[in-house]
Amino acid sequence: MKQALYLLLILTNSFGFAERNIDIPEPADLDFVEEKILLEAIKTAQEAVRNSPDDAEVWGQLGHVYLSHGWEVPAIPCYRRASLLAPDEFGWLYFLGRLTKQRQPKEAVKHLTRALTLNSEYAPAHLYLASALRILGKLDAAEHHLQLAKDFQPENPFSELWLGEIALARRQVKLARTHLERALHLNPRQSEAHVLMAQVATALGDKQAAKRHAQAARYPSQYSELADPLWWDVLQAGVTAPLYAERGRRYMSEGDYTRAVVEFETLISDAQKDIKVWFDYSISLLYTARHPEALSALKHLLSLLDKDIEVQKERSPDESAYLKAQAHNYIAQIYYETGQTAAAIRACRMALQFRKNKTDNESHGQLNPSDYDAFFSNVHANLATVYESTGQLEAAIQHYQEALELVPSKLSVHRDLAGAYWKKQRYTAAEPHYRQVIMHDTTDVQAIYRLGLISLTKKNHLEAISLFKKVIAIEATHVRAYGALGVAYQELGNIPEAIGAFERVLELEPGNRIVLDKLRELHESK
């Protein structure tokens, strides 16, 4: 009888029938929070826990609310509770492991190992587990999980980066170099990989490479977020301005500008003075073709940079100038896309006015000088495109050239400049740029074909034939390439091949009068 009563007591308690004191974790500094919307969100999430204390989901959500707003400590017991209530749910264990990693790595190893038994293919869990193991000095186990992370998410540079780090810690310098080269292949702008490569190069005695990597490492990493789809669940729980901005930026990075606009719109008001928010909002509007609103947002941004003392105080004159240049460049894009070419030209010219001259070029703060040059190269190229679209080919050529002066390797500009020369019938001037193009892009049919024609006019028949054949290999129905090939053979005196090429033209374009005449002429000359 006693046993039955005891069992009943356990059952009623576990199903929440009895009144229970639920110990709900709370941030210690909640009194400092002024934002009512956040206090409401916390209250709602806590109420849900109070109402359904045996529901893992509500505990997890409370954890998300805390974590998204930067409170890791109270989030931990929430995830712990959620994972106890739903032991087969991967997410709660994952977040529990991820959060404990930086405080109690031993505990993190336990949680993440268990999580991976539920979902063995979630690469970020392998990465966090590897990191926890690394903190504990367990290099072999960490390496094992990094390999698994790499298998499941091969495009994630962190696996290679951390494998490189482990190799370096073991003084396996050449192996470290292999991993780090792969990491840099996946993300050439990851400064962490450059740091380690600088050390590898130093250890290998390659001073030049060491200096090159050290220089690259001085600039912050770009695109270095760990790809972690589950993190979205946390972000969605955020209700303060930084969270809206973070979500907006993540949507932007995923190319979902419509959703990005929605996030940024929440933050936009006359009181908003965060230039980065205005910028990202404008770009999102632009990429969703909301041109008038994008234009208005960019103009507001420029007026803040020009007139608002608070905004001006936050950044150096150089930084402000660079931001203004970027804003004018986007404005130019809007005008161009809406057919207002004269205004687009004016905007591009405005952007170019903010470029510092070469002698001042040494310091751009946190900005990588190559990024700085790349941006202004783009502005020149954009201006050239606008000029070209209005038939002002000389001006277009001049700005394509200036774009190439800043970034000599930019393929698209070589292509466009060659195209502009072609239109001006300056074939000799176009030639080196087409050569640059086909050197790096062996599938650019137009460049190969035009280079073939240039070779033909220069009587370089063999090269011309080779180039036309390349065109045909890529595009078997390229009629003009067959025609040009026929002419090249004809000029070279190889009549059978010329006839063959012209006949192929006729197959593709029956009745082509020029080719018919050519064939008649060739047959008569035989």
């Binding site: 400092f32 956040l38 930067g70 951390w162 130093t202 990597h213 150096s316």
Partner: protein, 563 residues
Amino acid sequence: MTLTMFTKLPAITLTVVIGLLWAAHAETNKPLFTEVTAALGFSETEAAWPAGTHALPEVIGSGVALFDYNNDGALDILHIRFSPPDGGEPLAVAPAPNQLFQQQPDGTFVDVTEIAGIGHEGYGQGVAIGDVDNDGDVDVYVTNYGTDVFYRNNGDGTFALKEVGLSNEAWGTSATFGDYDRDGDLDLYVANYVQFDPEMVCRGKHSAIDYCNPKVFEPATDRLFRNNGDGFFTDVTAQAGIAAMPGRGLGVVCLDLTGDGWADFFVANDGEANHLWVNQTDGTFAEEAILHGLAFNAYGQPEGSMGIGVGDINDDTLPDLFATHLSGETNTLYIASNHSVFTDMTEIAGFAGRDLRWTGFGCGFLDFDNDGYLDIALVNGRVKRGEILDGADVGEFWNFYAEPNLLFQGSRTASGFAFSDVSSRAPDFTAPIEVSRGMAFGDIDRDGDVDMVVSNLDNRLRVFRNDAPPHQHHWLFVQAITQNRNALGAQVTLQTESLTLTGYVLSGTSYLSSSEPSVHFGLGTIDKIQAIDVHWQDGSRERFPGTTANRRVKVHQGKGRAF
């Protein structure tokens, strides 16, 4: 069988064995450090520290110096202090003069600030100690949030505030003296922090106001001052190349870290790459922290670097470094190699993430138990609000920032070295939940082991007496003298029959603080030193005769045998 043998032991033997076991038990359970602040005469009557106003200088704290200002052979204490937050007015100036405490013959301390004339009322931050005029008494440089000050020691127990060309109006933090140009006199490097804007208000993701991340402010340029040798200094920051790369500097040491015999400067920067200014031997420096592995952690990531410890933990004579960092980051152990590349070996050294939760500031290598293996002590305290830990009692506002300190004991393993957390064995030092910043090391009671002084954020000083070394562990202090002063930057190596131990003549290490420059060696059971080798800062090397353990010896440059 064993039991039978055991029971056959004579009663007297059993008594001895049990007695020995008790003694060993008592020794291992004895606290490693004992707080003696009040017993040494320091006042405990500081008023409760007012709530902060979230102005960044309030959480940077201040340093402390352990030095012998009056050449009486006993260490004195200079406590750098700053104004308390005042009723919500950021950085209101309420005087909190620095305080000099002179050690008395009975080991207690007496406040001699007024007599000594060294009670500057600036917003004190850090302190550097060095004899800049080679007159045999040490001078004092104090960094401030505001203009720094320099005090020349008059040699009669007083100081004179002097304008000698050491003009730094930026936000100075740690500073250190060192002879970078090998001209025989001490030059000065001052780490500067950020270009602080008191009107900046910072909020976290939760929208609540808190102390700003220093990254929201532009970094400041450190300053290098060359000693002209005529009592004055010249600001050579620009011509030395230091101005080329501003940083958010909090810690600095001056030592040859590249193995070329010339003094370099290692600067711990907050939240960005550390700087290693490598001496080019022509009066200029090149920043090469990345190339030498000291800019970032093992993952190539910048950390919030604060304090710096220096020591040779693996007995290879090369200086290894320890840097304290923010919570969530490791305190990083950089091990030097022969090709002057440092490797972050934190995670191989057995810390196992025990310090990850805390934000470290003052720190240092010390062999607290004189066993011949360097240990690590560090003090903690947050710069952003966190959970209130049990036992925190530093005021409603500051409890959010309070954390315990840590003590790690070094040992040798098959793979090299390891550190184990022995914090629980030093409860006076590690149990209080406070906000600590500055930390200095020295043998205050002259008993052959290293004691510690800590300055807390509320201008409170704490002194910890070392009670750790067992009787059988020996020690040696070496004071290396050049030009009538401590040979800052010199390397001292003890040759014994079984091992080689190396230490460095440094005062400016840790965080905002200055320690006793004599080199302490724990010797374990070794009681005889075969030779003392000194690699002087000017590049010369000398060997001095051996000695017996448990004494303080002085070695003078030029009196040894060159080698």
